[in-house]
């Protein structure tokens, strides 16, 4: 009995010694600059939830083993406030803790403020944002979790063209980077398909879109694209353009938010014919991932569906760290990432793209989905294959 107890004490002492050794040898801290306040908070909450989930998964399943020692993984998230300054300050705070591995941030202004600070502090990062310069050769250790409209607008427009007849389209978006970057990409893709396009930009903060709607009606557009107009604005535009007598199909080629648009517009009937980009196609694999989250974290996954893309991105980062064999050398991790195939246990295979659009092949492309509302009735999602540049 005494011997048994002695053994136990000894064993646990040894174990804890081993544990202490492991801590000093391999303790990965992932930094998450995420918007946690203001209207965009739900995006940051999805990012934070996904990263925390992947951290736990990595530890439970011992997915990260460096020099024979299983690493602990912790997540430090700071509010980046959806502004360049906020992200720069949050990233500096992360750098202060010696963090080299970053998942996030979400929005264009944040990524703008984030990149110089991350480059100065030699960090490797997986960012989002639909900006035209989200990634680029100037920032070799910054990767993109998925394409913007350059990657997925074309297949959605094609679905629209199959179902509805239109030769002209109007694109409406706010007159800042979040709007113009996306609207101009969408415009090019419409034009490639022989559709005449007019672009309308409004001042952010506009609450009554009747004048813009009048312009669109005067341009005799047969289809409308809301691009990346915030869901609240998009809802008013839809409501007012239907009041003005517009009957054509409406695209939303700029991110999710269809439910909120429908609420503001006054229901699916008002949306009538509506097509949008959905980050993932919900199938059994995705539901399995949801269940895994619930089992591991003890709560339902964050509501925003970008949760899935962030999960794939964080897992990819862990794989790259494993392949590089270091938790704090950003260049080595980035080099390892470039050689790895884009693949995830839940969504399957994808591709590295981005050379054509950004000049650097560091954008992950996975299958996605196209949402359709026809005649005021929600249709099942259409699965779209991952875009490849080859």
């Amino acid at each position: 009995m005494t011997i048994g107890l002695g053994r136990l004490v000894c064993g646990s002492l040894l174990a804890s010694a081993g544990f202490v050794g492991a801590v000093s040898a391999c303790e990965l801290k992932i930094g998450v600059p995420a918007v946690l306040s203001g209207p965009a908070a739900q995006w940051g909450i999805a990012l934070r939830g996904a990263t925390e989930f992947v951290a736990k998964e990595t530890m439970e399943e011992k997915r990260l083993v460096i020099n024979g020692v299983a690493c602990t993984v912790s997540v430090k998230s700071i509010d980046s406030k959806y502004s360049a300054e906020g992200a720069a300050s949050a990233t500096s705070a992360l750098a202060a803790e010696g963090i080299k591995v970053i998942i996030g941030p979400v929005g264009s202004p944040e990524v703008t403020g984030f990149k110089p600070v991350a480059t100065r502090n030699r960090m490797v990062a997986m960012v989002n944002s639909f900006a035209k310069n989200s990634i680029g050769p100037e920032w070799p250790t910054v990767f993109h979790i998925g394409p913007g409209p350059s990657g997925w607008a074309a297949p959605i427009i094609d679905v629209g063209l199959q179902r509805y007849k239109f030769k002209t389209a109007a694109i409406v978006a706010p007159n800042d980077q979040g709007g113009t970057d996306i609207a101009s990409v969408n415009a090019d893709i419409f034009k490639q398909r022989g559709v005449t396009v007019t672009e309308e930009y409004y001042q952010r903060g506009t609450t009554n879109f009747a004048p813009i709607v009048t312009r669109i009606m005067a341009s005799n557009a047969e289809a409308l694209d809301l691009a990346s107009s915030p869901a609240g604005d998009a809802g008013i535009i839809v409501k007012q353009i239907r009041q003005a007598g517009f009957t054509g199909p409406i695209f939303r080629l700029g991110g999710p938010g269809t439910d909120e648009i429908a609420r503001v517009a006054g229901g699916l009937d008002i949306l009538k014919d509506f097509l949008w980009y959905e980050p993932v196609y919900m199938d059994d694999n995705m539901r399995a991932l949801e269940q895994k989250y619930e089992k591991l974290m003890g709560s339902v996954r964050p509501e925003n569906s970008d949760f899935f893309r962030w999960t794939f991105a964080a897992r990819m980062m862990i794989k790259a760290i494993q392949a590089a064999g270091t938790i704090d050398n950003a260049e080595k991790i980035a080099a390892a990432m470039r050689t790895l195939p884009v693949e995830d246990e839940h969504i399957g295979k994808g591709y590295w793209i981005g050379q054509k659009f950004f000049g650097i092949n560091q954008e992950m492309s996975y299958p996605f989905a196209i949402g359709v509302i026809q005649g005021g009735v929600k249709q099942p999602l259409i699965r779209a294959e991952a875009v490849s540049e080859k």
């Binding site: 700071i78 360049a84 300054e85 500096s92 202060a96 100065r120 310069n133 800042d176 980077q177 113009t180």
Partner: protein, 347 residues
Amino acid sequence: MNNRVPKSLPAEIRPSLFSGHDWIALAIVCLTFVIPFTSTNPQVLSQTNLILIAATAALGVYIMQRLDLMSFAVPSFMAIGGYTVALLSMKLQLTDVFVLAAAAFLMPALCAIPLGALILRLKGVYFVLVTFVLTEIVQLLLFEAGPITGGSNGLVGMPAVKIFGMELWDNPHVLLTTCGLAFVSFIVTSVFTRWFRSEFAAIETNDVLAESLGLAAWKYKAMAFSVAAGVSGLAGFALVNMLLTAHPSSFAPMSSVNYITYTIVGGKASILGTLIGALLLVSATDYFALSGEMSPGLFGLLIIVVTMVARGGVVGVVSGLLYRLAGQSPPLKNGEQDLGVNGEKGQ
């Protein structure tokens, strides 16, 4: 209040140029030069950077406060300064920090002269509203002038600035640049406002009377507006240099509210108030960021409480307390020594 209007006092009769508060403020700014050499902690560096930029920008508000004008125009002039620097370094490869700083000061200061001629006739709330509209206009112009300003994308990819041919690119050096710009701004502001303090006091109290007594009020107003614009331009340079990007969102109209808050909450009576206000509120913002969506509300609550409890700002209250402890009455009824609480003002 002091209604005496000295047309031009010879320098030797003027009492010492700087007050105690000026010396303290300048000493604090001077001390920040130590940080880039002693600390490598990126958060300390980044916080110091943000506080100095905020304080420098708020100096623009402080200067206009000397004339009893509340200016919302700071972001406009920051934008002019910041974009000037970005354009010079990207299009003309000018990266010398002295040349850029001179440009960042002069460009907004020059723009302020014709603008000032138009709007300095306005007083009180009208000046507030017009400067507010002005920042909205500048913001729209930045979007519309795409070929020059890069439109909504801003100007990205500036080269690092250089001092005597040496690149100032990493964290401590960026802070060093900001420290230098802040120090210059504080010196310029304190010398300018203290040199003409009697003139400003006269205009602040009653500009019609001052003018009728022969003081060319418009001249001092124009000078103040121009210097305020120049100092804001330096803050714009520091901000653009920190982000390596000139982006319209950095000069959002609502950010002017922050700069005004720093000045008033800290204490609008002295330059130290501006510095302390920036220090306290930027740190508070950072601290509140941990509480996520609650943070703007907490910030608002803080503003209300400080405004109601600490009339004359934090510095006003603290120095009032210190004087009381020392058993003296604060020397604030005298325009010459005007450094303490200046909360109560005639209608």
